[in-house]
């Protein structure tokens, strides 16, 4: 029997108050609960700890380190029926709710914090009836974690303490528990079954001592403030760490299945044998599993283990806190224990990324101190050695760099031409590097810089910056059958590729050239066109939108040429360059011929100023066209919402 009389009367038990209960009396309280409801709690099993049914209070084991699975399984079970239905009759659909009263005993504060996150997810927006039914009927008795698992790092995440989210919270202070009352339900419970007393000063000191001692048992240190993690991750999406770390990932899903803050699920229908009725069941699912992001048709948005691994860490450190305002990882360390290749621990990922970020910053700082790129904005002098009229609005300009060096361009790259007083403008290089050190630019007169250029004469000296951009992917094109489709001035960059292919003919398969112009008078590089037409090494097709009396060739827009060529979509890559309007129609035509998005390559024209990834004019979403482009596969563009 208690020595002291019960000194906390019913009414006096408010929430957030503390009191003390002897361990024996707590046992009695549990026995009373067992008579009234289902009681689950922490038990020892094979040297580990698990949540399981409790038939007698002495089965409980409350000085544990961590359980194999988290207690969240009682609120969001691994498999649960959402509703029952009759086949072919939606009016007969009935919701299935679990309204049984259940006490969950022994929940550590980090798991309470995880439950708070689930509350936010399942209650705050689009309230989830199944979760709410379980939550409302659950009594949560927490217990402070005084013997943390060696893999736990909850103090680093600030989740080793819980202020809310429990009905009662116990701290083991020897023969008794200090009890923090978290809710009216908790208070009522104590009033009904508990024999409690006011805490003495000694009790209060003891609680502080054991809690502080527990803190010293955490082996981990987060190397940056936890508030910095989201930004850190944002800046480290392309860090080499992800691929390296994920290389041993088994995609086994263990890390997400044992995590208290994971809540993704799958929904499946199960019908009875007679196929007359059935259930809709939800089952745990997780982003680490191969099929998680697969959509109908088989496309998988996170098809490789690196992107799945990164996505999970981003959820734990960034997405969840940004979306729900609660920690996405509570530092329980279960994933780290469960992961056989030992790669799943978020804190190790956060620290590694932090370190890599610091190293990158340090490298950047030392670069800044030692080297500036003077030539970044200062153009190289180049002499105009030839100008020739191509058509009504276009001229070709041949340049020679004054320093005597080759330009060093790849087909598809561009240069900035600088004319003091007028400014700069970007132009694709029209000659292949295989054609000597001089280079040519085809330029249409459309405005200030271009007009001034058109007024120049042989011998003038102006500035060149570049070459810039990625150019056509010559490695991808090697060995393939090539379908080059150019409209109007799109021929300027494509001409360089045609020259390159002719000079390295054996490196490529078939070369099918499809060119289109508005009218015969607007044709460009007519001598080249005539020579290619005769060349047995290429298959040449040309059309004009509108013919005239002298024109004997094809008439019609460029898409009308495509049905004229036969090609094998598995071996062929198409390169498409032309005015924006052309892309849509040409791409639609190519898709009909079953070319995949990876095998359709386009060169984009965007407004550009600096050419070196700074000024932002050419930016599409997060991509700078002057750096990562201007050449893209259609597959890359599909992810850029602003691209086409």
């Amino acid at each position: 029997m208690e020595n002291n009389p019960v000194c906390v009367a019913d009414k006096e038990i408010g929430t957030k108050k503390t009191c003390v209960i002897s361990k024996r009396n707590f046992g009695n309280l549990v026995e009373a609960l067992i008579k009234n409801m289902e009681v689950v709690g922490v038990k020892a099993k094979k040297g580990k700890y698990v949540y399981d049914y409790i038939a007698a209070s002495d089965e409980l084991c409350l000085d544990y380190d961590v359980t194999v699975s988290p207690p969240t399984k009682y609120l969001f079970p691994s498999s649960e029926t959402l509703l029952r239905f009759k086949m072919g009759d939606v009016t007969k659909t009935e919701l299935v709710l679990d309204n049984s009263q259940r006490a969950i005993i022994g929940v550590h504060p980090y798991d309470i914090r995880a439950i708070e996150l689930l509350d936010e997810v399942f209650i705050t927006t689009n309230p989830d009836p199944n979760y709410i039914a379980r939550r409302q009927n659950s009594l949560i008795v927490g217990v402070d974690c005084l013997h943390p698992s060696p893999k736990s790092f909850s103090p680093c995440m600030g989740t080793n303490v819980a202020e809310n989210g429990f009905d009662l919270l116990l701290t083991d202070i020897g023969d008794s528990y200090m009890v923090t009352i978290g809710s009216k339900k908790g208070a009522d419970l104590l009033a009904k079954y508990g024999q409690v007393k006011e805490p003495t000063n000694d009790d209060i000191v003891k609680q502080k001592v054991v809690r502080d001692e527990a803190l010293t048992k955490c082996h981990f240190k987060l190397n940056c403030p936890k508030e910095r993690i989201p930004k850190l991750l944002e800046d480290s999406y392309d860090d080499a760490y992800w691929e390296e770390r994920a290389s041993t990932c088994l995609s086994c899903g263990s890390c997400v299945m044992v995590c208290p803050t994971c809540f993704c699920f799958d929904v499946q229908d199960d019908v009875s044998l007679d196929l007359k009725e059935g259930e809709r069941v939800r089952l745990w699912d997780g982003c680490m599993l191969v099929d998680f992001a697969k959509v109908a048709g088989g496309e998988n948005f996170r098809h490789d283990k690196t992107s799945r691994f990164r996505h999970r860490i981003y959820r734990k450190g960034k997405y969840v806190i940004e979306r729900y305002g609660k920690a996405g990882c509570v530092g329980c360390g279960r994933c780290a224990t469960a992961c056989l290749p030992e790669i799943a621990s978020p804190i190790e990922a956060f620290n590694a990324i932090d370190e890599s970020y610091r190293a990158k910053q340090a490298a950047l700082r030392s670069l800044k101190e030692t080297r500036t790129t003077k030539e970044l904005y200062a153009p190289r002098p180049a002499e105009l050695v030839r100008v020739e009229k191509l058509s009504t609005r276009e001229k070709v300009f041949e340049f020679k760099l004054k320093d005597g060096k080759p330009l060093g361009q790849k087909p598809g790259q561009f240069v900035e031409v600088s004319l003091s007083g007028y400014g700069e403008a970007p132009f694709g290089v029209s000659t292949s590097p295989t054609r000597g050190d001089n280079f040519e630019l085809g330029i249409r007169n459309v405005g200030n810089v271009t007009n001034a250029l058109h007024n120049l004469e042989k011998g003038a000296v102006l500035g060149i910056r570049g070459p810039f951009g990625n150019g056509f992917p010559l490695n991808t094109l090697a060995g393939k059958d090539l379908l080059l489709i150019a409209g109007g001035t799109g021929l300027f960059p494509v001409r360089s590729l045609v020259q390159y292919i002719l000079d390295k003919r054996s490196s490529f398969g078939r070369a099918m050239l499809l060119f289109g112009f508005r009218s015969p008078a607007e044709r460009l590089f007519v001598d080249d066109l005539a020579a290619w037409k005769q060349n047995p090494n290429v298959e040449f097709f040309e059309t004009v939108d509108r013919g005239d009396s002298s024109w004997t060739g094809n008439v019609g827009v460029i898409t009308t040429l495509i049905p004229k060529v036969q090609f094998d979509p598995k071996k062929t890559v198409a390169v498409v360059v032309g005015p924006p309007i052309m892309y849509r129609f040409v791409i639609a035509e190519l898709k009909k011929r079953e070319l995949t998005d990876e095998n359709i390559i386009v060169s984009l024209e965007r407004r550009m100023k600096c050419g070196v990834g700074k000024c932002g004019h050419c930016q599409i979403n997060s991509v700078y066209v002057c750096q990562e482009g201007p050449v893209f596969t259609l597959a890359q563009l599909r992810n850029l919402r602003e691209a086409v």
Binding site: V68, S78, L250, S251, C252, D270, L289
Partner: protein
Amino acid sequence: MKPKIAFFEFTSCEGCQLEVLNLSGEELLDLLGDVDIVNFREAITERADNYDIAFIEGSISREAEIPRLKAIREQAKIIVAIGACACIGGVNCLKNHLTMNQALQMVYGDSAKYYDTIPARPINAVIPVDYYIRGCPPLTSEFVKVTKSLLLGKKPEIPGHPVCTECKMAGNICVFELGKTCLGPVTRAGCKAICVSGGRHCWGCRGLVDEPNINSEEEVLKKYGLTVEQVVDKFKIYNTYSEVMR
């Protein structure tokens, strides 16, 4: 029209068919109400060659089985492989490590010369297979699930993830933590990790997942004390025929 179902058996112990018959009487009756079983050696005597769905058990390990299997493919609209032998070659493939003469000698002794045998292979090494009911023995519940899906005309939802996922869902303590080893991380789920739940570990009877990280699994097994030979032996039991073993 009720779909007509047939069961066929190649080189196997017939354990798979028995498992199907383990349905409770009521369940089986329900099933028979929706389908016509026209060919089922263990259960009925009459036979027909007119069927829509063929369930095939056992691996192919004799020359004469090949034309028979091809004939079934011609007839059936849907072919479902049942059991480890049919799906992945299974334990029958263990003999592939011997020369065929050695194998015959071991099994039949002096009468070996009367038999012919070829390296054992799963049925999809001979004909295209539509669906798989994996496991050794396969589970009644999964058989029922697949059959129901086929009757409803939908694609059966067969997990692509490894056994570990279901093992964790079941709340098991990982056997690696208890000093044992396991092929769960590379084996296709669907069995609800019954072996681990029952106190043992996974042997890999359901075959490998589509993209098994074999290197990593090997490293893990070695970290937990297995030698290279032991690792290979572990994989051999059910997955001799898989690409990783060749």
